[in-house]
């Protein structure tokens, strides 16, 4: 398989993730789209790792997963908090940044 195929595949996944974040208002869905983008990057890293025959990239993927797991735990806690406060997960309600 040429490397381009993986390149384009991960690009496509990444862009789908971006479209998702732009289209949806549900905070959880947006969060899932971010996970999707992370996975797209992981996929590409593994492909490069195979291409160069180097294990370091795979270790990096491993660390990305570690960080993602930590990030998800905190992020979901924040979303739960937000839901408790405003009884909604709609990000348009969160416009405090304006003030």
């Amino acid at each position: 398989m040429p490397i381009q195929y993986y390149l384009f595949l991960s690009m496509a996944l990444f862009c789908i993730g971006i479209m998702g974040t732009l289209m949806r208002r549900n905070a959880i869905i947006i969060f899932m789209c971010i996970e999707l983008m992370l996975n797209a990057v992981n996929l590409l890293m593994v492909a490069f790792s195979k291409m160069y025959g180097d294990a370091q990239a795979q270790v990096f993927v491993f660390f990305i997963m570690v960080v993602a797991a930590a990030e998800v735990s905190v992020g979901l806690a924040i979303i739960v908090m937000m839901y408790r406060k405003v009884h909604s997960v709609d990000i348009n309600i969160l416009n405090r940044l304006k003030h």
């Binding site: 971006i18 974040t21 732009l22 990000i91 348009n92 416009n95 003030h99």
Partner: protein
């Protein structure tokens, strides 16, 4: 022994640190003892070094390297001291007179709350002055130079609660700074052209031809250094600070403004004699400025009523004499006069301090008179000082002043006549002061009269020591007609490059001596007659001009101070307020205005931010991949 020279400034420095750090907690007497002992220790070391320098085995100047002070590229300036005849003589004067004044101060300042602080300043001053004369290059001298300037500021404004006194301190500091700038420029000129500031290296290169310089350069360097000297030694045009500096405690006036600090300029020029010998134009300027200063300040002193102010102007006038000597190339003579002047002027100041002490702070001689009956020791010592400064034969002032006049006559008779006129006025105003203070009837209040008393031993003993020195101090330099051996000149010969003074005929010299003695005696008698019936009616005509010091302060005020103040106000209004402030405030206002507009773009919704971010990413990609490559 010469290797231990660093001990001399070290003791006062330690005294300063101890007194300065613990001044709040220390008992008052303790501060005085520490300060005096520190200077005494330096004096002892100075004596040892002086005798070593005087001995025949001493070979040329010794440079003691302490550590490297500046090392930057080609410029290497060590922190080192130079021991030779000139510096060892000054060491003796500074530490000796300084010690006496310290002892005097322990009594004089006894009732002052800030006594320990006072001694800390005094020690710092002695330290700076020692650094000034000990340094083996101009930079070390400059450190001491600035140090004494700082200390004089601190001590003049010692009673800082009085606004006039702090103003006087500021005036002294600013005047000194003007001169210091000249010194600095001269120093940098030397550094630029010779690459060194060390005396020995610099003077060694002066005559040699491998530094291609014109006579002009010598003149410029010499004039710049002389500007520094006019500031420190109170010459025209920077002399007005010294009379005002009398605001400080009287021992300070004696120490700083009579015996030591003001002689820094003389020392510097005597030290740079090799340079000045190559700069005839600068020498002429020195002589002319010295003459003018001697005459003008002596004329002012005639009509002053403040006892310390008379002495201050007399100091300026005597400094003028020293500069005349320097200007005609008789460096040794100038140093000779520095020495004798240090004795009798310190004596006079301390005597006036004793009088002021007895009068309870009164300084106006119109309110004194007849003090001699109550204060015998003060009167006699003061009289000796007056006789010495007036140039009565047998006392120290006669020998040094006569030597100056003789050198001036040999150089140019015109200088001699001016100098004679100055000496004439000196005799008159000193004895006017003496008669008004110690003779006649008491003119003060009854309470003051009741209070009059002789001062304690700590005050009178230094007076007596200084009186003895004022008498015998002149015998180190007997004139040629009396003795073949001029011991001071012989001593200073290796250190000071003297012009060979043109030998005068013995007959001429006798005549000159007789003339100056004659006018001095006539003036003393004249002063006695004039003060027999004191008349203090308001002055008119020339006397009024003299009383107001030739209106020099007013002149400076009108020519320099006020235009600058007006210009500053103008700049303040137009440059500062509307220019710089306007610009700064304008930037602030602009940012505020534009941010008021820009914040409308913020919706506060996360979605729109992500959207904008993606757009930005796209643009960056386009830029990065298609545009740049």
């Amino acid at each position: 022994m010469t290797q231990l020279v660093y001990l001399i400034p070290l003791f006062p420095l330690l005294g300063f640190l101890v007194n300065g750090i613990f001044w709040k907690k220390m008992p008052k007497n303790m501060g005085g003892i520490i300060g005096s002992v520190a200077v005494l220790a330096s004096f002892v070391v100075s004596l040892c070094i002086f005798f070593e320098v005087k001995s025949d085995s001493f070979q040329g100047p010794v440079v003691v390297n302490l550590f490297e002070f500046i090392n930057s590229g080609k410029l290497v300036i060590p922190f080192s001291f130079q021991v030779d005849a000139l510096s060892s003589l000054f060491l003796l004067i500074i530490t000796g007179v300084g010690f006496l004044i310290h002892v005097y101060s322990t009594s004089y300042m006894h009732d002052d709350a800030g006594m320990v602080k006072y001694f800390a300043y005094l020690n710092l001053f002695v330290f700076s002055m020692l650094l000034l004369v000990l340094g083996s290059n101009y930079l070390i001298m400059f450190i001491g130079w600035e140090g004494v300037g700082l200390c004089s500021y601190l001590l003049i404004g010692f009673w800082y609660k009085n606004r006039d006194y702090t103003n006087a301190a500021k005036k002294a500091f600013v005047m000194n700074r003007i001169g210091d700038l000249g010194f600095l420029v001269g120093m940098l000129l030397i550094l630029l052209n010779y690459g060194t500031l060390s005396y020995q290296e610099f003077f060694g290169q002066l005559g040699s031809s491998h530094v291609a310089v014109s006579n002009n350069l010598y003149n410029w360097i010499a004039i710049c250094l002389f500007i520094g000297a006019t500031g420190k030694s109170a010459q025209i045009p920077l002399f007005t600070w010294l009379p005002d500096a009398m605001a400080g405690p009287t021992p300070v006036s004696a120490l700083i403004h009579a015996a030591t600090m003001v002689t820094a300029g003389i020392y510097m020029i005597a030290r740079s004699g090799a340079l000045y010998s190559l700069a005839p134009m600068a020498l002429n300027i020195v002589a002319i400025v010295g003459t003018a200063t001697a005459l003008i300040s002596a004329s002012i002193a005639i009509k002053q009523y403040d006892i310390k102010r008379v002495l201050a102007y007399s100091t300026v006038s005597q400094l003028g004499f020293m500069f005349i000597a320097l200007g005609v190339g008789a460096y040794t003579t100038a140093v000779f006069h520095v020495m004798t002047h240090a004795f009798f002027k310190a004596l006079l100041f301390l005597g006036s301090g004793s009088v002021i002490h007895a009068m309870g702070g009164e300084q106006d001689i119109r309110k004194m008179g007849g003090l001699g009956k109550k204060m015998r020791v003060t009167q006699i010592t003061f009289l000796i000082g007056c006789l010495a400064i007036s140039g009565i034969p047998g006392l120290s002032g006669f020998f040094s002043k006569d030597e100056i006049l003789a050198a001036a006559y040999a150089h140019n008779p015109m200088l001699y006549y001016c100098g004679l006129a100055g000496a004439m006025m000196t005799a008159f105003y000193m004895f006017r002061l003496y008669f008004l203070t110690f003779h006649g009837k008491f003119r003060g209040t009854e309470e003051q009269h009741h209070h009059l008393h002789e001062s304690p031993a700590a005050i009178t003993i230094p007076l007596m020591v200084l009186a003895i020195l004022s008498i015998v101090g002149g015998y180190v330099g007997l004139p040629a007609v009396l003795s073949e051996h001029h011991s001071l000149m012989a001593f200073l010969k290796p250190a000071v490059t003297n012009f060979d003074p043109r030998e005068l005929e013995h007959g001429t010299e006798w005549m000159l001596m007789g003339l100056s003695t004659g006018v001095a005696v006539i003036m003393i008698i004249f002063a006695f007659v004039r003060t027999k019936t004191p008349n203090f009616s308001p002055n008119t005509g020339l006397a009024k001009v003299l009383e107001n010091k030739w209106y020099v302060d007013e002149l400076y005020d009108a020519i320099i101070v006020r235009p600058i103040a007006a210009l500053s106000k103008l700049l303040d209004r137009f440059m500062e307020r509307s220019g710089i402030d306007g610009f700064v405030n304008g930037v602030g206002k602009g940012v505020r205005w534009s941010s008021d507009r820009v914040r409308l773009m913020q919706s506060g919704q996360v979605g729109s931010y992500i959207f904008v971010m993606v757009i930005g990413m796209v643009l960056l990609f386009i830029l990065g991949f298609f545009w740049v490559s």
